[in-house]
């Protein structure tokens, strides 16, 4: 039966379609579950659901003869099932009463979690089965099938990001479901021509999916998310929603009870709060647009720790990074600043404040003193040649997210040592860089910020960083000032006065007596003062070492500012579980570790199962290629491919200065050029002997470009930084092309070899590769947190070398 298939054309169009939908579905689920749950749980759920790829290999390995005998039908059914289950499984998963917050209180919760990711694994299982079945069936055309798979995935990753700008996630879900069914229809044409049965039913099902009311598919946020909570209050309603890949923004109006969003407000404040519209991102992270139609000064903004720099000097040129709903811009206007540059990443947010609610906000963003810039903070500063009397970085993340370690896994280039150096280079002599953070108990990010500022100042040649730093805190927020110069006694007197009148504490200023610390908002010990004194002094390194959270500065290579977890503290914290010590855990990192452990166990089962069940069969008897070689080869290249992809996405974020552009461009370019690389091997995979050398050649190419980029990417980026964005995108694509081209080769070359010598193992090899990809994404982050992204690339190159050796 397989013999006849070798002459037929594989169904390349439907393969591309299903691969595009499956990759798009993966990114979409991440969006949907970030709205329903919290980001880190979304990450865990989707990572594990992707094991559906690995499971497809196991499934086909076990049911190969039957599936191959009924290939056209089995293929089409899997495509259709992908389309249907993409929607059905998501809806079913929404019904599971998973409450991530309760996971360590309630033993049902881990079971619910398991149910959710088993459900979500199904669509991936169907999509991957379709692809793997085709690879198994058309084993003379492996390279072309794999190329179609990669090309489809590349288009899917680009398509979903564009689509998420255009429509809401619920609508995207419908489209992807229908696309799965469309793939099945196309497959019928490709494989059976007009005679294929069930086409009408498939078409009707697709139309039915498209007709589903969007309200059914809209994600229902957990009742414990901020937006759900506030909507319980009578008179509140969402008046507007905007969706983009950066998140769904909901605008909330509260008719009866005023919103009063003023985090960090002084306990002594008597200033009235204006009416507000609430802004929520993915049903959390509340900020507010102030009602200020006359554009008056809003006094409450002067009762926040962030107002400090305006009381020490009279800044005239101010840069607000992360302008959001505009409170920090208004604060500058309060003080008569005449030149304010406001940078905001999310264009929809700017639009809401400027246009939709422009009158409400008193046309804040059209004020003659204000220039709003759409873009990423770091990129703006790097491209700017202006200098400022004050650069203000306010509280960009919500307290809830910050305090539960939600951001631990997020790369952030905003607070790295290099970033602080970039900012300081734009601060005029005598001016300040002001950064505010939430206060956590025990202190974490404020201290990491101080350590980072000290490192940045030292890197700029300042030997006494303590003279240029001042730190104040309320009970809820802290503000760190880094001055371009030494603080004067006049400034310090004003600082103390500012704190005294607002019930804030001074935590550090040059020459601060120890007994001036910890006076109004009292901790068990003067933690902030102790830390600042140590970090600015000679024993900073020892202090960081001794501290039970990781407060060593983040760098561009290890951009994990929000990672505070230290293994040493784990036993102590776990012992406090019953008393509610879990917030100390900084859950993000442990979620990552938990994901890895689960993925390792499940992968081992999926990989070993066919081996145990089928090893007696004749076609599973080892020939020139041993099973262990297959495992090592496909595991290594599975790990390595994503290592490289993930690490380079990070490297290019710093060049393209926009996380979204970087992800979309790097991912798409990698997949498309890898697809081209795979297609290029098509002509060679007929000659297995040549294939061996081709693998070595491909790995040499990867190693060459990998090492070259490791050494040269930073200087090249630095030299080309000032190019316009379109040219930087083209440069990025040109840089990715050759590396990705070579990276597309090892998989089809290896699989072609397996297909020739041990055809029964083809689906198994695919499954191994699928499992490795899941592990890879998680491992890459763990490695990057510990050792940095350069180390991830080196690890990938070593894995490629191992692969080449294993099958040589």
């Amino acid at each position: 039966m397989t013999g006849a298939g070798t002459l037929e054309r594989p169904p390349l169009v439907s393969i591309s379609l299903v691969s595009a939908s499956a990759l798009a579905y993966e990114i979409l689920l991440m969006r949907l579950f970030s709205i329903i749950q919290w980001h880190h749980f979304a990450y865990m759920i989707i990572s594990l659901a992707l094991l559906g790829y690995g499971a497809s290999g196991t499934f086909i390995a076990l049911a190969r003869p039957w599936l191959l005998a009924h290939y056209p039908l089995a293929y089409r059914i899997n495509l259709a099932l992908f389309g249907l289950s993409a929607i059905a499984c998501y809806l079913a998963a929404q019904q599971v009463p998973l409450n991530a917050e309760e996971i360590l209180w309630d033993w049902h919760q881990p079971l619910y979690l398991l149910a959710v990711y088993l459900l979500l694994a199904l669509p991936f299982l169907f999509a991957a089965t379709a692809v793997a079945l085709t690879l198994t069936r058309y084993r003379q055309a492996i390279a072309r099938v794999y190329a179609a798979d990669l090309l489809g995935a590349g288009l899917g990753s680009l398509g979903i990001i564009l689509l998420l700008f255009a429509v809401f996630p619920g609508t995207v879900l419908k489209l992807l479901g229908a696309l799965g069914l469309l793939a099945s229809l196309v497959a019928a044409r490709e494989l059976q021509g007009r005679r294929a049965r069930g086409q009408v039913a498939t078409l009707l099902a697709a139309l039915l999916l498209l007709a589903l009311p969007v309200a059914w598919l809209a994600p229902q946020p957990s009742p414990y998310k901020e937006l759900s909570q506030i909507l319980r209050i009578g008179g509140t309603r969402v008046i507007e929603e905007r969706s983009s890949p950066l998140g769904v923004i909901s605008v909330l109006e509260s008719a009866r009870v005023p919103l009063r969003h003023a985090p960090g407000l002084s306990l002594h404040s008597s200033a009235p709060l204006p009416e507000q519209l609430g802004l929520f991102t993915d049903a959390g992270g509340m900020t507010a647009i102030n009602h200020n139609p006359q554009g008056q000064a809003l006094a409450y903004l002067d009762d926040l720790t962030t107002a400090l720099p305006y009381y020490l000097a009279d800044p005239q040129r101010v840069l607000v990074l992360g302008a959001g709903a505009g409170a920090d811009v208004q604060q500058a206007l309060n003080h008569g600043v005449t030149q304010i540059d406001a940078v905001e990443l999310n264009p929809q947010l700017i639009e809401l404040v400027r246009q939709d609610h422009g009158d409400w906000a008193g046309n804040l963003y059209d004020h003659p003193a204000v220039r709003v810039h759409r873009g990423e903070a770091r990129g703006f500063v790097r491209h700017s040649r202006a200098t400022y009397d004050l650069i203000q970085i306010a509280l960009l993340d919500a307290f809830g997210a910050s305090s539960s370690g939600l951001h631990a896994l997020n790369e952030s280039y905003l607070y790295t040592v290099e970033a602080l150096q970039d900012y300081l280079a734009r601060v005029a002599p005598g001016g300040y860089l002001a950064i505010s953070r939430w206060i956590k108990l025990p202190p974490r990010d404020t201290l990491k910020l101080v350590a980072s500022a000290v490192a940045a100042l030292k890197a700029s040649g300042i030997t006494t960083p303590g003279e240029r730093l001042a730190l104040i805190r309320g009970w809820q927020t802290s503000t760190l000032l880094v001055k371009n110069g030494v603080f004067t006694s006049d400034e310090l007197a004003r600082l103390q006065d500012f704190c005294r009148t607002r019930a804030f504490d001074t935590a550090w200023y040059p020459g601060m007596p120890a007994d001036a610390a910890n006076r109004v908002n009292i901790f068990e010990q003067p933690y902030f003062y102790q830390a600042a004194a140590a970090l600015t002094g000679a024993e900073g390194a020892a202090f960081m070492d001794r501290y039970k959270f990781d407060i060593t500065p983040a760098t561009d290579d290890r951009p994990y500012f929000f990672h505070f977890f230290k293994w040493e503290a784990l036993p102590e914290i776990l012992a406090l579980r019953g008393q509610g010590g879990l917030p100390l855990l900084e859950a993000g990192y442990l979620v990552l570790v938990a994901t890895l452990l689960q993925a390792v166990i499940l992968s081992a089962v999926l990989i070993l199962l066919p081996l145990l069940v089928l090893r007696g069969r004749r076609e599973w008897q080892a020939t020139s290629v041993r099973s262990v070689q297959v495992v090592v080869y496909f595991f290594a290249i599975g790990l390595a491919f994503l290592f490289v992809e993930i690490a380079f996405i990070q490297k290019f974020i710093l060049f393209l200065h926009h996380p979204l552009y970087a992800v979309a461009i790097v991912l798409t370019a990698f997949l498309l050029f890898a697809g081209a690389g795979s297609a290029w091997t098509a002509r060679r995979d007929a000659h297995p002997r040549l294939a061996r050398y081709a693998t070595v050649g491909a790995v040499s190419g990867i190693a060459l470009f990998g090492l070259l980029y490791l050494l040269l990417l930073d200087p090249v980026f630095a030299a080309l930084l000032h190019l316009p964005v379109v040219l930087r995108i083209l440069v990025s694509i040109a840089l990715i092309a050759p590396l990705a081209f070579f990276m597309g080769m090892p998989f089809p070359l290896g699989l072609a070899r397996v297909a020739t010598e041990r055809p029964a193992l083809v689906p198994w090899a695919w499954g191994i590769n699928g499992c490795a990809s899941v592990l890879s994404a998680v491992l890459a982050t763990l490695l990057a947190i510990q050792f940095g992204f350069s180390a991830v690339i080196i690890a990938a190159l070593l894995l490629y070398a191992l692969a080449a050796l294993s099958l040589h």
Binding site: E101, L267, H268, S403, V520, G580
Partner: protein, 246 residues
């Protein structure tokens, strides 16, 4: 159960009987409540460094041993009502972990003649505990369904010294101000300054910070006899971030 433990529980059971309002002679939850008390006592001991004491005020512990927590949770959760953990009570709200309620109440240092304000009634459990200890409790709930339910439950339990109001707690309860103690359990982006105004000189306010299921810290606001305001930030667990001497 060991003999001394049984003895204690007998004595405590007797206390419950005498406590009146909320006690039942044949209370099927009495044993569970005693277990909860023991757990809280153990937790307090472990956290003595942070709390600055080995045991909580016996009156507070007695209140916890008296209030029928099971009567304030949804029926389906009654058999786990006395576990030392927060429980969901619907409307996206929770009934707090008993240990946290215990230390919050203790930190308030109320007297029998105190007048206490609570912002965020929720299940009504905290109000009931306070009602066992003070003369009058005023409590405000913003979510109507929740406030109505809590009022019904508290009335059924016979608490006559609790007044439940449904509305916005930001401006406190002007007519009854000032208060000896204020508990702010409703999430707020900041501590409302009007509530600080309504705190008596020498009064204390307690604000738990964190999420519904995990309290990260307790903020204790103190107003001294001169009206000067300070806060203390308390970790409800024994954890010192620095190791060794500094």
């Amino acid at each position: 159960m060991s003999n001394p433990a049984r003895l204690i529980s007998l004595i405590m059971g007797a206390t419950c009987l005498c406590a009146g309002a909320a006690a039942y002679a044949d209370d099927p939850f009495a044993a569970a409540r005693q277990d909860m008390i023991r757990e809280i006592e153990a937790d307090v001991k472990r956290t003595s460094l942070q709390l600055d004491k080995e045991v909580l005020d016996p009156r507070v512990m007695q209140a916890l041993a008296t209030v029928p927590r099971h009567a304030l949770v949804p029926e389906s959760l009654q058999d786990v009502a006395y576990r030392n953990r927060p429980l969901p009570i619907g409307h996206g709200q929770t009934i707090s972990q008993p240990y946290i309620v215990a230390i919050m109440t203790d930190l308030l240092k109320v007297a029998p003649d105190s007048k206490v304000l609570e912002v965020g009634t929720g299940s009504g459990y905290q109000a009931a505990i306070l009602a066992e200890l003070v003369e009058q409790v005023y409590t405000i709930e913003i979510i109507e369904a929740l406030g109505t339910r809590a009022r019904g439950h508290l009335e059924a339990l016979g608490y006559e010294n609790i007044t439940v109001r449904i509305g916005d707690g930001y401006y406190g309860w002007e007519e009854q101000a000032p208060f000896d103690g204020i508990v702010v359990t409703a999430a707020a982006s900041h501590i409302p300054p009007p509530l600080i105004e309504q705190l008596k000189n020498g009064g204390r306010m307690i604000v738990p910070v964190g999420s519904r299921f995990m309290v990260q810290q307790l903020v204790l606001v103190k107003k001294d006899s001169q009206g000067k305001v300070t806060t203390r930030q308390i970790l409800p667990v024994r954890f010192v971030p620095l190791t060794g001497e500094h």
